[in-house]
Each structure stands twice: as structure tokens, then as C-alpha cells.
Amino acid sequence: MTEDFALKVEGLVTNFYTYEGVVLALAGVDLFLRRGDTMGIVGETGCGKSVTARSILRLVEPPGRIEQGSITFFDRDRETNEIAPIEILDLEEAEMMDIRGNKIAIVFQDPATFPNPVFRIGTQIAEVIMLHQDLGRAALEVKIEELEVNLDKTEGDRRNKIEEKIEHYKSQLDTPPEPDDNDKKAAAWKLAIDMLKLVKMPAPEQVISQYPHELSGGMRQRALIAMALSCNPAILICDEATTALDVTVQAQVLNLLNELKSEIGTSIMIITHDLGVVAETCNWVNVMYAGNTVETAATEEIFETPMHPYTMGLLVAVPKLHETKERLDQIRGSVPNLITPPTGCRFHPRCDFVTEICKNDRPRLRELKPGHWVACHNPQGGS
């Protein structure tokens, strides 16, 4: 393994134990995210995209449970560049808390319901910062800045005192003392404003002390992204982060994500059912169907030579501007009930290329071409 991965998920199985029966939501999801990549996870509603995202952060709520598989997070030390693989499913809850929001952050789907309605935007961003970051230096910087503002206003003897103080604080910058709570808050607040500026929030100084209901959907989504980015996570998961937005705002947010990626070096995982979003922003695609990874390859490869019948169907189903059609193309049948999923390959009842083996044996993900993995018994060599 010479490639530089940020995250590797193998054979992930997550079940939900409901009254109707056990929902086999994820039945062996495999995916990998290279460092610095933007990977798209596509699939129909209910195919397990969001459950995968939540499983990675171990945020699956009861009655859901992660049953087996491995999720390896390759933690790169920012200074030494040493990479330490961390098995997420083996971590203690306390260690997991150190990863959530800090190393792996998530932006959720619905900007209307995810921000806490009773707290100011700033409080919600500063909270993450205070939790995960060492604010010693930032707190000192805030203090120095304040003093410098005062310095301009005062004259005479007191000027010297303030200058002395500034010097004193500056000498501490490299080995900052543990700041007290108020200093921490001030520093986190200031960093929160910086985060809002980073996500191009208009008027960040005002927005920071506003409540979520006072903002528009797009602004709230930006605030959520700011929250997720505030600790420079190694991996950012966007769970349908743009689905609830207007197309214009969506484009802005996606551009923003791409810019941010180069700015803070985050690997991004975009979960969506919008192939347009994938084509525009991702360089790697992971296609999921009914709790399985069915195909994964570079974006161009997938769009040009899809090999799995499902991916092909998915691409054909996208309406094209230059074609006139009576009926839009679709994949026949519908998403299976995951309490009683089809045997063998879960796609076989809807597949045009189904053979006997598909009904009994579940295909594994195989690398059929260099850099192109498909889980299918009858891959369609790429048309």
C-alpha cells in the first residue's frame, strides 16, 4: 500500500433493529478516500449513503448498530507528517469524541433543522473551537490586539504601562500559559468570526451574534460548514450538504468547498444523489446500491465507461438537454426492502444482465481495470 489514504472502510455492516424486523442497511460497504481527494458517494435515496457517513463517525443511533467491518482513519500528524492508522470501531467513546468535529467533521443535510435554534451562531461555532483547539496563543493574540487598540487612544504615562504589558504578552507567545475561561471564549469567538469569513458569510460580525432563525437557508448552511471546518478536519463529510439549497446557492457552496479544500488541505467526501454535483466537484466516485458499494473509480472513468449495470442505468437516467424523448429512461423496478433484501446480488431483480449466479452469490468488489473496482458478475466492459 503505497497510496496515501485518509480513510478506508472495509466490509462495513450496519443493521437497524426495528419492530418490523432487522433492516440490513449496510451489507458490506467498501470505500477509500485518498488524502486531498474529493470523493462522491452517489446512490438512490435509502441506499445507505447517510448511514455510511454516520457509521464513520459512529453516530448511528439505536436501534441502529454497527455490526462488523473496519473503518481505518489515517491520522497524519501536522508537524511530523507521520501517519498513524486508527481503527475507529475499536476506539473508546472518549477517544471518539476527540475525533468527531476535530479530525473528521460532518456537514448535515438540512440547514433548517441542524443548527440548535436557541443558541447564537457564534456560540455554536466557538463551542467546537473551545473543545478541540489549544487556544493559548490565540487568547494572547486577542489580548495584544485589544491592548494595541487601547494604546492608540491613551497618552502619557499609561501608554508605557500598556506597551510593557504588550511586550510581556508577546514574550509569552511561543509558550503560552493556559488561558482562563473568559480569554478562551474571546479567542474562540474571534476564530469563529474568521471561520465565517472563510466560508464567505456576508457581514460575519453581525451574523455571529444572530440566531439560526434569523438567517437564510444558504447562510445557515455556510454556518454549518464553518462549524465543521473550524478545527481544520482531515476529513470533511458533506451529507447532502447542498441538496436543500437553491441551485445558485448550491453552486456557491460547492465552489466554496473546493476552494477550502486547497486552502486547508482537507479530504472531502460528498454524499449526494445529484450526478451533476459529482461531475463538477469530485475526482473520485463511489456508487452505492442497497447498502453495497457497486462501483468505484475516478469520476471521468465512471462517467465514460461505467461497468456496473446499475451505474449505467443511473447515468442513462440523467435527462440530457440535446435529446428529445417521449419517456425518460429509468431503471426498472424500485429500491428493495432492506428487511428482506434480494439474495445474491441485491441489484439482480432490476438488472438487465442477470444470470443464475447473480441470484445466489453476492459479487465482491474487484479491480477489473487499474483504478476501477466493480462488484458485478457480468460487468459490461464499458460501452
Binding site: L59, E61, R100, F108, T113, F114, N116, P117, E127, L131
Partner: protein, 343 residues
């Protein structure tokens, strides 16, 4: 500024409510009992009766009498209560007895809130665990038991039986031990008065006397708060913003007590406000059972003896308290939930 406007508007809006309550009570009270009977005993000569009727204005048409009552009310004269040993102005009686009632009501409210909110939270966070089951049974018992029955049972066990068994028992009547202590009312609240004069023993004696009636009165509210807190907490814990809070890496404690609690308190506060009005009704029963020298007992006697001024005065006071507590609830609401902040 905006807050002041809000309060002013609410006060103006409360006027029709209070007026409605006074009107309905006044006419109802008139239908139910004959006020003249208060002034007549077996020994009153028949010939004197028309004079009594006339001197109290009972011969006037009803609307005129009602108009006179309202006019007097607006001038600060709530009428004369005839159900006490010596006839006394209603306002004087209220001034004298109100502290005992409100002290009891406040203490039971404090007990209910201090116990109810944490119990509700624990019950919700430990859903379907033994703690939850016990709490739910405890709360169910509270909403199911009538106050008068519960009060009698408390008194029977904690006073009569404990005394009979030679165990330390709780006193069953009065606000403090009249034989041992002197109480000079300054604020009227014994717990505060005793601390003001530095009489710690009176303070604890009063607390001991208050324990049973306060718990009896507060248990229902405690149960209501617990149930409400549990259900709203469970509701809130399913919300998306809780998932977001968890995804930030916050501990379960902070997620529950910072992110969920404030949202879950919003419906609970409404219930607390409504329950405070209910406490005044409960006080009538509790004070009767525990021989508490408060407004409740006076109200019961007023009703039994067709003391119109007493009935109307008590109802008006309760109406004012309910309106005020609703206003306070709305103010607390605003601080909890920025979406309904005024202005």
C-alpha cells in the same frame, strides 16, 4: 424598551380576562347562595329583615348591585367579608392570610421544580432502564392521586402512625409551634421573618411544619413537571441539532444539559405556569386538611356561608395570580427561545 411595551400590552390585554372572571363569579355566587342569610339568625325579628335587605343594598336590581361592586372594586374597596369571626374588609383578610398561602405555594413549587426537572431528565436519558420505570410510576402516582386523599394519607402515616410508633413525626397543622415560638409578621413569610430576626429554631420549626403540606400540594405539580420534562426531553433528543452537537465531539453530558435541556424546558415552562394557577386551587384543599391559616380555608368558609365579598375577592385574587404567572411564563419563554423574543 420593547420588553416594557410587551409587558404593558399584556397588562392591558389581561383587563378583559380579569373583568370576565369577576363578572361570571359575581353572578354565579349570587345564584348559588342567598347573601341575606349571612345577616339573619333565628333570633332576628321578621320586621327587621326588610331593613337589613335595604341597608346592604340587596333590594336594588342585580345590574345596579353589580355596578356598585365594580365601582367599589375600582376604588380599592373589595367589600366586607362576613364569614370571619368579626366582619373584616376583604383586602385586610387577604393581606393577613395571603403570605401563608403564597409561602406554601412557592415552597411546593420550588420542591416540584427542583425535583421534577432532574427526574424528567434522568428518566429520559435512562429510558427503559429501572430508574426510568421507578420515576414513571412515581409520576403516575402523583397525577393519579387526588390531593385530599393524598393529604389525608400523608397526615395519617407521617403524623398519627409515626407518633403512635414513637418515631419522629411531622406536625400536621399550623405554620409553626404556637406554644414555643412567637412570630411577628414583617413580611408575613415565616421562613423569611425568622431569618430576619435570626431565629434559626423558628425557621426550622416552620420548615418542619411546612414539609407535609408543601409536599402534598407540590406532588401533583412535581408529577406533571416530571412527565412533561421526560416527554419533551425524549422528543428533543431525537432532533437533528442533537446529532449535530454529537458530531462536534461534545460529551453526552454537555449534549444533554446544554443543547437539549434548554429546548426541552420550553414546553415544560408552559406547564409550570399553568400548574401555578392549579396550585391555588390545591391550596384550598391542602390548607383545609392541614389546618393551615391561609386563604384557602377562608375561601372554603366563604363559599359555605354564601359570603359574596369573600368568594369574589378570592376568585379575583386567583385570577390576578394566574394572569401574572402566565405573563412571567411568557417572559421566561422569551429568554429560553430566541425565536419568540419580543419585538
Amino acid at each position: 424598551m420593547k420588553l416594557r411595551d410587551f409587558i404593558l400590552r399584556r397588562i392591558v390585554l389581561a383587563i378583559p380576562v380579569v373583568f370576565g372572571v369577576v363578572t361570571i363569579t359575581w353572578f354565579l355566587a349570587y345564584i348559588v347562595g342567598d347573601p341575606v342569610s349571612m345577616y339573619i339568625t333565628e333570633r332576628t325579628p321578621d320586621a327587621a329583615i326588610p331593613g337589613i335587605i335595604e341597608s346592604h343594598g340587596f333590594n336594588e336590581p342585580l345590574p345596579v348591585q353589580f355596578f356598585l361592586y365594580i365601582t367599589n372594586l375600582l376604588q380599592g374597596d373589595w367589600g366586607t367579608s362576613t364569614s370571619t369571626a368579626t366582619d373584616a374588609p376583604v383586602l385586610d383578610i387577604i393581606a393577613q392570610r395571603f403570605p401563608a398561602t403564597i409561602e406554601l405555594a412557592l415552597l411546593s413549587m420550588i420542591i416540584a421544580i427542583i425535583l421534577g426537572i432532574p427526574l424528567g431528565i434522568i428518566s429520559a436519558t435512562k429510558k427503559d432502564k429501572p430508574v426510568d420505570h421507578i420515576t414513571r410510576i412515581f409520576a403516575l402516582a402523583g397525577v393519579s392521586m387526588p390531593i385530599f386523599w393524598f393529604g389525608l394519607m400523608l397526615k395519617y402515616i407521617l403524623f398519627f402512625q409515626f407518633k403512635a410508633w414513637g418515631l419522629p413525626y411531622l406536625p400536621s397543622s399550623n405554620r409553626y409551634n404556637i406554644q414555643l415560638y412567637d412570630h411577628v409578621a414583617t413580611t408575613g413569610f415565616i421562613l423569611i421573618d425568622s431569618l430576619l430576626v435570626g431565629d434559626i429554631r423558628l425557621f426550622f420549626d416552620a420548615l418542619r411544619h411546612m414539609a407535609m403540606p408543601a409536599f402534598c400540594l407540590g406532588y401533583l405539580v412535581l408529577a406533571i413537571i416530571t412527565r412533561m420534562m421526560r416527554s419533551s426531553m425524549l422528543e428533543v433528543l431525537k432532533e437533528d441539532y442533537i446529532t449535530l452537537a454529537k458530531s462536534k465531539g461534545l460529551t453526552q453530558r454537555i449534549v444533554v444539559y446544554r443543547h437539549a435541556l434548554r429546548n426541552a424546558l420550553i414546553p415544560t415552562v408552559t406547564v409550570i405556569g399553568l400548574a401555578f394557577g392549579g396550585l391555588m386551587t390545591g391550596a384550598v384543599l391542602t390548607e383545609t386538611i392541614f389546618n393551615w391559616p391561609g386563604l384557602g380555608r377562608w375561601a372554603v368558609r366563604s363559599i359555605l356561608q354564601s359570603d359574596l365579598a369573600g368568594i369574589n375577592g378570592f376568585t379575583l385574587l386567583v385570577a390576578l395570580i394566574v394572569v401574572t404567572s402566565n405573563l412571567v411564563v411568557d417572559l421566561i419563554y422569551g429568554t429560553l427561545d430566541p425565536r419568540i423574543r419580543f419585538g
